[in-house]
Subunit: 226 residues, 2 copies
């Protein structure tokens, strides 16, 4: 499960200070597919980064699988993330000097773990990347880069997958492929999925939707597709 | 008007060679709002970059306002673009060391032109950037960065505005604000708008939609909202 209590995140000081998260309480049970929606600037990416341990809260607590992130040093936090977390960034964050295949397996290579070949092939086929594995990010379209970022997060079959607008640059067909894959990750493998999206059609794949505004959860919906 | 004849663009050589545009013919009359749709990897960004003179065709011709881009050297092409073209990039391409205000006025500053203060304020208000002008790109959310990129393309009131997925990171409200602004740019100021989008709701603001697949125009639709 992913649990946060009274999560507050203030950016900067003085004139440019921004209260991006304002005492957010949220529990995502194991195996749930949660969608996070809200206007641009409402704190969605900040919430996702803090839940994944990629950013530290100003105050409040985060627990991933029962481990309190505040108790971990940077090195332990990195190891926990590499073992348990997959993250699809809003801006992809691919390594420009590696080709698509190397970008996808990078987290496993860094952790010294082997790649499950059949699983790698299945992800690449589902995301339509088969004939682009030798390309570097600059040789890929925007949507292809996004799909490489998604493949990277999914290939290690992490306990929790955080996805920040994963279908933003995808057409409806490739978007549906990725969303079905996330749905299956929750249903078949019990992975917890936390996905930020602006697209109600994407959110309808989730079990539950929380709505953010000005750094707070203002409403919630269960079974959006019921 | 924007006219291209037999536009072909091949990337790379050998194993990674890709035929991104395959003899595309397209005429966009002055003051038309054209949407370009198609699957991820179908050549939309490549077409937009070649029409705007940001990338050179492998063969074929492009005319902007009657000027053949092939006849221009790099310097003349840059001057033409600065005078006539606004471009909203799919990956925003903001300058990280400048704040939002400086990023928005950069094309005018580089061209030695003055900024129309009232017009600048109107664009900033429409795109909801008023309280973020002192922030640098790293201090902005994804959607806010996209809106700064949009403001930059619109502040010089160019003859042609090219927009690559301009609402990809925006919620429906800020997306509608930007699309209405582009619609008005065509209706009131006679600017030509060429917008790539995956979102049919965004495309419905346009006068005409062309559909790309594998580097070719495969179909077209007039008055999508009729
Ligand atoms: N520098 C490059 N070298 C090799 N291939 C490239 C290069 N840039 C783009 N491509 C390929 O050209 C094709 C068209 O790319 P383009 O970026 O125009 O697609 P797109 O329609 O904008 O896609 P998306 O909707 O994902 O942004 C893609 O298949 C891509 O892999
Ligand atoms: N480094 C920073 N310094 C100051 N303010 C920041 C910083 N990063 C983000 N912000 C601000 O915090 C707020 C929340 O940002 P966040 O990226 O979480 O929003 P978001 O909901 O993901 O938006 P979007 O849908 O546009 O991606 C925004 O108003 C933004 O301007
Ligand atoms: Mg965001
Ligand atoms: Mg593109």
């Amino acid at each position: 499960a992913v649990v946060t209590r009274s999560a507050t995140r203030v950016y900067g000081v003085g004139d440019t200070a921004v209260l991006a998260l304002d005492a957010v309480d949220l529990t995502v049970p194991t195996g749930q597919f949660l969608a996070v929606m809200g206007p641009s600037g409402s704190g969605k990416s900040t919430l996702l980064h803090c839940l994944a341990g990629l950013d530290r809260l100003t105050s409040g607590s985060v627990e991933l699988g029962g481990t309190a992130l505040e108790d971990l040093g940077d090195k332990e936090l990195t190891h926990l993330r590499r073992r348990e977390v997959g993250f699809i960034f809003q801006s992809y964050n691919l390594v420009p000097t590696l080709d698509a295949r190397e970008n996808i397996t990078l987290p496993l290579d860094l952790a010294g773990r082997t790649v499950d070949g059949a699983w790698f092939d299945r992800i690449v086929a589902t995301l339509g990347l088969g004939d682009r594995l030798d390309h570097r990010p600059s040789q890929l379209s925007g949507g292809q880069q996004q799909r490489v970022a998604a493949a990277r997060a999914l290939v290690s079959r992490p306990t929790v997958v955080f996805a920040d607008e994963p279908t933003g640059a995808l057409d409806s067909t490739s978007g549906a492929e990725l969303l079905s894959f996330l749905r299956q990750a929750a249903d078949e493998f019990g992975q917890t999925i936390v996905m930020v999206t602006h697209d109600p059609a994407a959110a309808s794949y989730a079990d539950r939707i929380v709505f953010l505004a000005d750094g707070r959860i203002v409403s919630e919906m269960l079974d959006p597709d019921a």
